[in-house]
């Protein structure tokens, strides 16, 4: 449980942070985020709100990608390593992504295959 003072502080810092977002470009284009927000019923033209959502979604995904990279490194994936060089070239595959997504409660399954 956080105290009301701490909550108030976080709210204030959030408002400050939102004003900084006016001249910030997230990786996800604004138009894309705005479209999906509109699809879910949230109609807004405020770039601060759109960028805040973009940034949060980006962080969520970035955490998943980093987790899958750790899985890839732990597996010692020999797949992408070049001969002669020590640096490994990591390739994102479903084999690493599935356990990373499962940690976030997302279970990925392949569709049924009919011959």
């Amino acid at each position: 449980e956080s105290s009301p003072a701490a909550e108030n502080k976080s709210e204030l810092s959030l408002v400050d942070f939102c004003t900084q977002l006016e001249d910030y470009t997230p990786t996800i284009p604004d138009a894309v985020t705005q479209h999906y927000l509109q699809m879910s019923g949230l109609n807004t033209d405020d770039p601060r709100i759109i960028r805040l959502v973009s940034l949060a979604a980006q962080k969520f995904l970035s955490d998943i990608i980093n987790d899958s990279l750790q899985h890839c490194k732990m597996r010692g994936a020999p797949q992408g390593s070049r001969k002669g060089t020590k640096d490994k070239r990591y390739v994102l595959t479903m084999e690493d992504l599935s356990p990373a997504l499962a940690e976030y409660g997302i279970n990925v399954r392949k569709p049924m295959y009919f011959t």
Partner: protein, 107 residues
């Protein structure tokens, strides 16, 4: 690895480009198409969920225009931690997709 797929809507392609940029930023060199598509769907679903939850908070407060506080409440409900967001926004290796300019029409 993202080849041109004429059958795909532009928004999905842009989403996949954004996911690919995030993968490169994390340290990947290449990715399977299947993995990129799954991540793009996860991203799409997450944005929709934030939008839906914020919209509910907005309507409960008898407003039609959402405020930052509605988004904040939605983030809390989804379990997103706000504290690291500012730090994440200012990371040095961040990338953004340049806006494509329309080609000059051939008259």
């Amino acid at each position: 690895m993202l080849g041109a797929d004429p059958g795909k809507p532009t928004l999905e392609l842009k989403m996949e480009s954004a996911v690919a940029a995030m993968c490169v930023e994390a340290g990947y060199v290449s990715a399977n198409r299947e993995a990129i598509e799954v991540l793009a769907q996860v991203l799409q679903s997450y944005i929709k969920e934030i939008g839906h939850t914020s919209n509910v908070y907005c309507e409960v407060a008898q407003r039609s225009v959402p405020t930052v506080s509605d988004i904040h409440l939605a983030f809390i409900e989804l379990g997103a931690r706000f504290m690291n967001l500012e730090e994440y926004a200012q990371r040095p290796q961040r990338r953004h997709i340049p806006r494509q300019l329309r080609s000059y029409p051939n008259l």
